[in-house]
Symmetry: C2
Subunit: 326 residues, 2 copies
């Protein structure tokens, strides 16, 4: 039910994903009557989807604490509950991030050694892609938390990309050891002494997109700003490029010929392509889709969920943490 457009976007995505992944059972949690009427007859025949009624909805404006107290009958709560009860392997939502985090933490709990989950996403780089966390779950982070993020991000990179010793960097405002705030500096010391993490040192903002590290660790405030600034720059550059191809007759003709090439380029960095952030550290897979995503973007988020389950990400993170805290 969540996201800027609700089932109008999520439902077509779910149906398309269900058709392409007949081995996956999908439970659509939400207002049954609304979902039933939105569901095309032909599609409701799909054997691998079923509806689960939830009379209530977490609003985008709900505070996490409010959602936790009053929204046990919401689609979000019930979807996370399916994971907590073992009835589902993963939950995907385009709804309120703070509420999803709070409900996830309450129903699923974090693994031992993890204070709070971190939001982690794949970002495109010149070398392929990297993982970045935290992207907004933790406004202020202790050095201990930054170290936890580094361990979880490492394991994610191992699991998804098969890299044996993925490189980890801390996002900072300079490469020198004297730069940055106390938490970052202390985390750097802890990580450089930690045999479980292949710590490279500090990374600056531009290093992320050069692909200088496989895993980039930062607090949620900085990470969220970095992510949204990136989206903003990409949008500005794409729209300005488009405009410059429309500026003149010459440009318009060129633009027509260049269209496949430009579309290809644009798609490569289209935010929807990388949609689907995971809450690492929860004892279960919870995936957050961007609220303003398209159906294609929501399919990406569903694929992230599938990947998390296929590669047993939560379990692997737990095992890695257990080794670390041993």
């Amino acid at each position: 039910m969540g996201g800027d457009s609700g089932p109008r976007v999520t439902l077509p995505a779910i149906l398309s994903f269900a058709r392409q992944n007949q081995d996956i059972q999908l439970v659509i949690v939400g207002d049954e009557s609304q979902l039933a009427t939105s569901l095309p007859d032909s599609q409701s025949q799909l054997e691998n989807i079923r509806l689960l009624h939830a009379p209530d909805v977490v609003e985008m404006s709900d505070k996490p604490a409010t959602a936790l107290r009053n929204k046990q009958q919401s689609s979000m709560w019930k979807a996370v509950e399916l994971v907590a009860n073992g009835e589902a392997d993963a939950c995907v939502s385009a709804g309120n991030t703070g509420a999803l985090m709070a409900i996830g933490k309450f129903l699923l709990k974090t693994f031992p050694g993890i204070d709070r989950p971190a939001i982690c996403k794949t970002v495109p780089t010149a070398k392929g892609h990297s993982y970045m966390l935290d992207l907004g779950a933790n406004v202020e982070c202790s050095s201990d938390q930054l170290v936890q993020f580094a361990i979880m991000g490492s394991e994610l990179s191992c699991a998804l990309d098969g890299s044996e010793r993925p490189t980890v960097s801390l996002l900072n405002i300079g490469a020198e050891a004297i730069k940055g705030n106390e938490e970052v500096r202390l985390a750097a010391t802890m990580l450089s002494e930690n045999p479980h993490v292949n710590y490279l040192g500090f990374i600056e903002g531009d290093g992320i997109y050069r692909g200088d590290a496989d895993v980039v660790v930062c607090d949620g405030f900085v990470g969220n700003v970095a992510l949204k600034v990136s989206e903003g720059v990409a949008q500005l550059l794409a729209s300005t490029l488009q405009a410059s191809f429309k500026d003149s007759q010459y440009g318009r003709i060129l633009g027509w010929f260049a269209r496949p090439l430009l579309r290809n380029w644009h798609n490569k960095f289209e935010p929807g392509r990388y949609n689907g952030a995971s809450f690492l550290g929860l004892q279960g897979a919870v995936i957050k889709s961007h609220g303003g995503t398209t159906a294609e973007g929501f399919i990406s988020a569903l694929q992230v969920a599938k990947e998390q389950v296929d590669k047993s990400i939560p379990q692997r993170i737990n095992e890695r943490l257990a080794r670390f805290f041993d």
Copy 2:
């Protein structure tokens, strides 16, 4: 002497700027013998440039405290000193940012009411441009400092763009009042009660490039990351676009025809175009050029200095602060 390439980049820029601005007297501070040999004979005839010898140099790796203690004979120190003594109206350096800040603060002092200067830069937006501060001078900022930045940024926008009541936003990770850390939330309360600032509310990372506010205020850690992330994304997008025009014979031919258009687009966001950050809050104009800039970029930094002097930025900021603290 500063920057990644030293006089090899700065000198041609200074000469070109001197030729174009015959009414401006330029003092080139640095190692006289090195500068004299680098200076083409024809150019040393320019009447509006002179050399000032400085036997020492602040290295990029020098800590601010070291520069302050041991580098009184450096080109950076002597250049700032010219401003402090009233012998120059502005100082431009491509050198060590932290040292420039420390020496600037020591020799020029900040205006009453300003704890520490803020680094401020023009950023391109969908609507034209905005001003963003702090970009790295203050890793952690109190709410008082954020308010000081808002006032200084406002005055800068008034002075440079002639806007009467420029809009000011605080960079945050959500538009809601409950988001963000304590300093940002407290600063928001202070700004919304402040008649001297046209405070709009919070802005998210993507809002900067949409041009949602004329002035964007944040702490130096977040601002520096945002700036460098922006550069990284722009580089990645530009290089990928270039690559996709080289991927095929078809692309190469198209690319040839599209070259002027693409160059135009690229130039619009070329970091050099916006090179030149000012230390707002100092009792004098000090401009920091990107260390890795080109000669063209260094000319931009010189132009920023000219603008600061022409529009009496430091004096205007002082007057605005005096009204505010009255």
